[in-house]
Symmetry: C2
Subunit: 471 residues, 2 copies
């Protein structure tokens, strides 16, 4: 794996006239062939350029999406589900043409079952919107990938983020789905019961399938009671290794920490500029504790003691909601802040996840790589899970910088796989990591994935060309 693949629409073609007529009859102006609309749907947060679909269909209901799917099946038109367009690995680009199915209009909260700690939403509901809408019930949905992604998209990429260390990922927090199969049938997977042994785990088959097996239109999620007490803090450490070691010991002691995020000195510099803050420009951990008043106090004391043993002394606390919000906004802005370190750049973002005992060596070896590179490469990470990201900033007009970025990425992935880790903790494969998937799983396991794809989508209409080549 060396250079970033150069992609354009591989076999984009004129859509069949009969298909366009039928789509227009179904959706009227919500079926669009306009170039700006297509381009908007052919661009995500990946470093790929625009690879636009041939048309965009905006749907408002599961039934409408199923009708679109049936037309696509009838006319052999590829379909790419589109939520908020925040994916990072090229998931929603259209190298084989076809239509983009925009689900952002399906943004209704269908049901809150506060007493069961579940909510059911349409796939286009955004993460922040969901939390706003359930706030009055004393509930919250913890999965937080940073971007204001759609819940459907978060299912499709098996997203996680800053809270996963305590609340896990989309895999564990989705109870049930409504899915449209590639032939246009509507199925329901799972139930609102907390657990089940009823047959194959269809829910988990679609979670992480990146739109290649069906269209997720409704989702039932686990939500959580808002903790009685929350506190957050930042703490700077003399070295990267000290910060990472503090996290490792925190996890190994079983402290039920809600978030623990690593941000390196360069990222802190970027954040300070972007958010007009004055954080010490050293490797830093962002912490959040959830629990009862006493529980939070106890957790914080334990972690402070561990931090102190690694030279992390000054905890800056944020107990008021507005201070916490400011702190976490700064953390979430790290990506955008980083982009401003190099005006006009695009980012190649790495995403390995390793067993936590191997985290320190992986981050340290990565740091050596980065120090040797001419590219600015801030590091941030959900280190409590062993997951970290390098934001490699490249000039899109300098091919040699992209080659360099891919070289760094490949090194990071190789090291992660060598210690029993994965090439992607939460971003998915998309177009960008197909080669790494092969290395990670091997041919025989990939053949099992291919067999499932062929069985469920025999016409290869669903987001074709992603995750793996069909051979």
């Amino acid at each position: 794996m060396t250079a970033m693949p150069k992609l354009t629409n591989l076999d984009a073609r004129v859509l069949p006239v009969a298909f366009c007529e039928a789509m227009s009859a179904l959706l009227a102006t919500r079926f669009s062939l306009s170039l700006p609309v297509r381009e908007h749907h052919g661009k995500d947060e990946s470093p790929f350029g625009i690879i636009a679909p041939d048309a965009v269909a905006f749907v408002n209901s599961t039934e409408e999406a199923a009708a679109v799917m049936r037309l696509c099946a009838e006319h052999r038109v590829p379909l790419i589900p589109f939520g908020a367009g925040t994916s990072i690995e090229g998931h929603i680009l259209a190298p084989h043409g076809g239509i983009s199915l925009d689900l952002s209009g399906m943004n209704a909260l269908i049901a809150i079952h506060a007493e069961d700690l579940t909510v059911t939403v349409q796939a286009g509901v955004l993460r922040k919107q969901l939390n706003e809408e359930i706030k009055h019930s004393g509930l919250f949905f913890p999965i937080d990938p940073g971007a204001d992604a759609s819940i459907g998209g978060m299912c499709a990429t098996r997203a996680s983020g800053t809270n996963a260390v305590r609340y896990q990922t989309m895999r564990e927090n989705v109870l049930a789905l409504t899915v449209i199969t590639p032939e246009g049938k509507i199925i329901h997977t799972g139930t609102r019961a907390k657990k089940s042994s009823a047959g194959y785990d269809l829910t988990r088959i679609y979670i992480g399938s990146e739109g290649t097996l069906g269209i997720i239109t409704e989702i039932t999620l686990r939500v959580y009671p808002q903790p009685e007490a929350i506190s957050a803090a930042v703490c700077a450490f003399p070295t990267l290794s000290d910060a990472v070691q503090t996290v490792i010991e925190t996890i190994q002691m079983g402290v039920p920490i809600a978030r623990v995020e690593f941000v390196d000195a360069l990222s802190i510099k970027a954040i300070n500029r972007h958010d007009k803050l004055e954080l010490v420009e050293l490797p830093t951990l962002f912490f959040e504790f959830h629990g009862s008043d006493n529980g939070v106090k106890e957790q914080a004391e334990t972690v402070q003691q561990l931090a102190a043993e690694h030279g992390g002394h000054q905890f800056e606390w944020a107990t008021q909601p507005e201070d916490r919000k400011k702190l976490w906004n700064a953390r979430h802005n790290a990506y955008f802040a980083a982009l401003q370190l190099k005006p006009g750049c695009v980012a190649v973002v790495t995403d390995v996840c390793v067993p936590i005992s191997r985290l320190a060596e992986c981050v340290m070896a990565t740091d050596v790589d980065l120090q040797a590179s001419s590219l600015p490469c801030p590091i941030v990470g959900h280190v409590g899970d062993g997951n970290f990201h390098v934001i490699i900033l490249v000039d899109p007009n300098k091919p040699e910088e992209r080659i360099e970025a891919e070289r760094i990425n490949a090194n990071i992935v190789e090291r992660a796989l060598a210690v029993g880790g994965t090439c992607t903790g939460e971003h998915g494969i998309g177009l960008h990591k197909m080669g790494f998937l092969q290395t990670e799983h091997g041919d025989d396991a990939l053949d099992v994935m291919r067999a499932i794809k062929r069985a469920l989508d025999p016409l290869n209409l669903m987001n074709p060309g992603k995750i793996f080549e069909l051979k």
Copy 2:
């Protein structure tokens, strides 16, 4: 759904001579055609009689199991993986003949990564053995279905049990698998990283597949630090409804309780007899709290207050390990204690799981049904998850009692499905619940399962005839 299906070997046949010769060459005396051995492998804890395989193969390694699988594929011989034989729904019976693959010899702990909170085991390792072998590391594996099942079997049925309310189920606690495909290839799913978005979730495809898609031979599990403090207690309540309501409020408040088990008055009576205890013969909750000293104290205080509001006053505490063990042994013996209420009986055990807000009405309606029945039917349940079991005791020589048991079971399932629950929280489908699976998922979702089965096991060799009919 009325009567328990009457099953015998539907198409048992003489195994091909060439197959038997090749198996004997491979395994020598570990390939057995002896009737007692076959019968032992054709009987589980289900109320079905013996439905024996045509032969039994005992394997000691993944490579050996793969060699057996390849011979089965070559000679078109069905294969049924066998762990400890503790399944409840007929999973390991052989209605289509073939061989039973006994993995109990694969009982090695392959690796402990204490610092990562993971262990890797062979599929035949038993649950209690695992906990014994990792005790010295300060770790424990929480999933506890009661029976001393094999870890492979627990994967195959997506098992859970008393600790799931805090530690979830096999679905969430398996990181990686080694699986033999029906063509005899060895694949590895997942990694030791805590999370991953690398392609389809192959791990979850095999978890809960009941041996119908491949042979699970090695498993990497999440394990947990032994809590700093553990305490357990029993508390009796004036009515079943009071006990269940206490649980519901505990869960809704977000108390991180480690176990909360409901045991009805009849079960307590059975337990008192069986374990020579003197528990008050009333609806009772068994509690266990894990955490720091303060955390456990805080949880216990909250729950005691909730219990008191529902008439549950006298908490009997067991803080010493030996007292806790006695208490939980009693709970785990509830099944065997129940069997002694009616000497010579067999049990039909129900297993629905419902959203917790609907638990009280489901248990109460069930109780009305049971009061009206002539059969003794103790109730126990992992009520923190909304999961409860009725142990319906039937005389195997009285067909009318089995019909009555199936009628009760069908009513319970129907009510569970009507409130958004599932027909099986943790036991699986096997042979017994195939009709209910159809009702729960509907034809179109079941067709997706069938498509996966056909794609991954085109010769239908893996545990054929289970979970669903292929049509």
